[in-house]
C-alpha cells in the first residue's frame, strides 16, 4: 500500500519540483532581464538555439515521465479491473424496506421496482403484500389495497389461489408490499433495480442513503440478486446468530 502510494505521488512530485524549478529559473532570468523568445521565431544566435534545444529536451523528458506516471497508475488499476461493466443492485436479504428506494433515486419514478418471484409465491388469498393490515373483506377495492399507486394487480386463478402481478410503470419502488409479503408471507415480492430503467450512476444515490447497506456493484452479466432457491434462510425460522 505504501509503495503503491509512493508510486502514485511520484509523477505529481516531479511535476511540482519541475514547476518550482521553472519558477526559480525564470526569476533568475527575469532579474537578468533576458527576453524570452517565441519558439516559433527563427533564431540566429547559437546561444538561444542551444537554449531552445535544451528546453525541448527537458519538455520531452517531462512528458515522458508524466506518461510513465500515467501508465503506472493505469497499470496499478488495470491489475484489478474488469472488462465488463458493473451495475448497482440491492440484496433483498438485507433490505429493510425503508422507502428510500422510492425517494432517493435520481430518477422519478425510481428505477427500483418491486419484482415478483412467482416461484416463491404462495398464491395466498390473504396476501400480506396486497392488502392493508386491517382489511376485512378480501376484495380489490381501493380501501383495501396496500399499494399507494395500485401497481400490484390481483387475479383469481382457482380456489383458493390468486396471482399477483406488478404493473411496473405504476410501481414507485416504495417497498410497502415487500414488507407485507416478507412479514406474513414467503417473501416472493422483492425490490430490485431494474436495469432497463436504471441509468447506472457512478455512485448510486440510493446506495448512499441505504440504511441497510444492501446495495453493491455487481457484474452487468449477472445483474440481479433475487432471492431464489437454496436460500433457505428466509423461509424458515432464522437461525440465531451466535
Amino acid at each position: 500500500m505504501k509503495a503503491r502510494g509512493a508510486i502514485r505521488t511520484f509523477p505529481a512530485a516531479i511535476a511540482i519540483i519541475r514547476t518550482i524549478a521553472n519558477c526559480l529559473k525564470q526569476t533568475s532570468s527575469a532579474s537578468a532581464k533576458q527576453v524570452r523568445i517565441n519558439p516559433l521565431q527563427k533564431m540566429e544566435e547559437p546561444e538561444n538555439n542551444h537554449k531552445i534545444n535544451r528546453r525541448k529536451f527537458l519538455g520531452a523528458g517531462v512528458r515522458a515521465s508524466v506518461l510513465l506516471g500515467l501508465g503506472g497508475v493505469a497499470a496499478l488499476v488495470l491489475k484489478q479491473s474488469v472488462a465488463g461493466n458493473l451495475v448497482w443492485q440491492l440484496d433483498p436479504a438485507k433490505c429493510v424496506q425503508c422507502g428510500r428506494c422510492a425517494t432517493s433515486c435520481v430518477l422519478t419514478p425510481s428505477a427500483v421496482k418491486c419484482v415478483h418471484v412467482y416461484a416463491m409465491c404462495g398464491y395466498c388469498d390473504l396476501c400480506g403484500g396486497y392488502f392493508k393490515p386491517e382489511t376485512k373483506t378480501l376484495t380489490t377495492a381501493a380501501e383495501n389495497q396496500l399499494c399507494p399507486t395500485s401497481a400490484l394487480k390481483r387475479k383469481f386463478i382457482e380456489d383458493p389461489f390468486f396471482e399477483y402481478t406488478v404493473d411496473e410503470p405504476l410501481c414507485i419502488g416504495c417497498g410497502k408490499c415487500v414488507k407485507g409479503c416478507g412479514a406474513f408471507g414467503n417473501g416472493s415480492l422483492q425490490l430490485q433495480v431494474r436495469h432497463n430503467r436504471c441509468v447506472n450512476c457512478n455512485q448510486c444515490s440510493i446506495a448512499r442513503n441505504c440504511p441497510a447497506d444492501a446495495y453493491s456493484r455487481v457484474p452487468a452479466s449477472k445483474p440481479y440478486l433475487l432471492r431464489q432457491v437454496g436460500d433457505e434462510k428466509n423461509l424458515t425460522a432464522k437461525t440465531p446468530r451466535r
Partner: protein, 618 residues
Amino acid sequence: MTKLNSQDLNRYGRNVAIAGTPRGLSLLRNVAIIAGIFAMILCVLIIINYIQVKRADPLNTKTMKVLVDRMHADPADEQLRQEIREIDLLARRAFFTNQWQVRMGGYLLFFSLLVVVICVTAAGLMQKTIPAVPSGAKTDRWHTLKINRIWVGYTGISIVVISMAILILTHQELGRNLQEAINEQDHAGRPEGREAGMQESRNAELQNTGNGDSLVKKDTIAATERANMDGYPSLQEISRNFPSFRGPGGNGIARQKNIPVNWDGKSGKNIKWKTEIPLPGYNSPIIWNDRVFLTGASQTIRMVYCIDLHTGKILWQKAVEKIPGTPSQEPKIIKETGFSAPTMTTDGRRVYAVFANGDLIALDFAGNQVWAKNLGLPMNHYGHASSLIMYHDLLIVQYDQRGSGSVMALSGKTGEVIWKTSRSVKISWASPVIIQTGKRTELVLAADPMVASYDPATGKELWNFACITGEVGPSVAFAGNIVYSVNDFSKLAAIELGDPPKLLWEDTEYLSDIPSPLATGKHLYLVTSYGAVVCYDAKTGAKYWVQELETPVFASPVLAEGKIYLLDKKGVMHIFNDDQKFTPVSQPQLGEGSSCTPAFADGLIVIRGDKNLFCAGK
C-alpha cells in the same frame, strides 16, 4: 505599437464582420425573447407544481387515513367506502398527472431554452464584430501580482479561520467516544444488543437452575464462547482440532488420540462413512469440532463444503461466486495443481478458503458469507496453491507470484488487510507454517531463494536464510529449534535458529518436490514424490533408514500418537512408527487414489480420495 487600420484588418482578418441583415437579427432576437419568456413562465409553473406536491403528497393524504380509520370502525358504511374509492382515484390521478406535468414541463422548458441558445448563438455568429484593441493602458504586471498575492493570502487565512470556526461549532471528540465505547465493550467482554439479551437470560437461567449444576454451567460457558464471534481460539483449542493443512500450525503433528490403523475402503471395514465430493480438488480436509471443511473447484465453479464429521452428510455447500474483483479469465493451471489446491483454514469462528484464481472467502459455520475478496489473478503458471493458516484472528496468505510476491495478514472478521509484506522471491507452491520457538511465535515461509521468518502479528521479517532454489513445493518442518526446508534439484537444509540462523546440516541425495518433510523432534522424515521415505537424525543429518514405497506420494506425512501416517498416490496409508528402525504398523487401503493429506479427530481419520471423502474409525 500602433493600432491597425481597417484596411489591414480586411487584409488579414478571416472572419471579420460578416454583417448580418438587421431584419434577420431582430427576428432572432424576438424569437429568443419570446422563447425566454416562455421558459421563465414554465419555470415558475414547474416550481409552483413542485411546491404543491411537496406540501401535500397525494399518496399520503391525511383525509385518506382518517377515512380508512373510520371505515375500520364502521365496516358496514357503504357510503364511506365509495368516498374512499373516489378520493383514492383522485389522489392517484393527481400523483400521475403531476408527474406527467413535470416531465412535459421539463421537456418544454428544455426546448424553449434550446431555442434561446440557438437564436443567441446564431445572432452571435451573424453579428460578429470587428475585434477592437482594448482601450486603456496595459496594467502594471508587478502591481497586479502584488494584489493577487494579497487576495490569495486573505483567502488562505479565511479558509483556516472557517475551518477553525467549524471545529469550534461541531467539536465532537467522536474518535475518543468511540474508543471509549470499544474499550468499555472489551472490558465488559460481552457482545451487544440481542446477544447481550441472550447472555442475560443465560445468566438468569444459571440462577434458575441452581449453581450446583456443572453441566449447564459448562455448557453456558461454551455457548458464550461460541456466541463470541470476535477473538480467537486458545492454543489448546487449536490443538484439539485440525484447523489447517498439516494440522495446527501446519507442523504435521496431530494431537488426537485413538486414531485407527486398520480400515478398508473397498469392503467398508472401519469406514464410518464415505461421501462423494462433487467437485475435485487437491486440498486436504480440515476439522473443527464436529465439522469437516474442504473445497472443490472446476474451471468455472468453486465450492466450499461443510461435512458432518459423524455422519458424513454434506451439511452445506457454498458456491463461491460474485466475489468483487474476480478476474474474468481463468488462471492457468497445471493438472497436478488443479483449481482448488490450497487447503482451507479456520479459527473456530469462521472458515476461510482460497482458490486458484485468487478468490478468498470467509464463511461462518452456517455457510453464510462473511466477507470475500479477490487477491488478483496470481501471476504464475499453475494458479494459487499455497494453503491458508491462522494466527490468532489473522488469516495469513502467502501470495508468492511473479514480480510481486507478498505475505499478508487479513482480519478474519472483516477481511481487511492488517499487514502486508512484500517478498522478493520466485513463485512457490509451499504453504506458511507457524512455529513456536519458545521465545516467540514465528511465521516461516519457503520460496526461492530463501526460508524467511516473519512476525505473524506485524509482518516484520525476523530473519531469512538463503538455502533453497526452484519453484518450491514442500513447506518447511520445524522441531527442536531447527527448521527444515527442502526442494527438488536444490537441497535439504536443516537451519538452526539463532541470531543469525545457521546451517546445521544438508543433504542432496533425497529431495522432495511435493510432500513436505516431517520433523518429530528426534527424527526428520523426508518423503520424495516418487515414494522414497528417508529417516534422518534431526540434529546430525545421519540417515537411519531409507524405505522405497514404490508408489508415488503427493500427500505429506503426519505424526499422530507416535505413528507416522503417509498416504500414497494409490490410496494406501503407510503407517509406521517414529523410530530409528523402519517398523511398519499397517497399510490400510482406501480403495481409490488420493493426493491429499489426511485430517485427524479423536478416534477418527478423514481422508480425501480422488472422488470421495472417507472417514475411518474404530
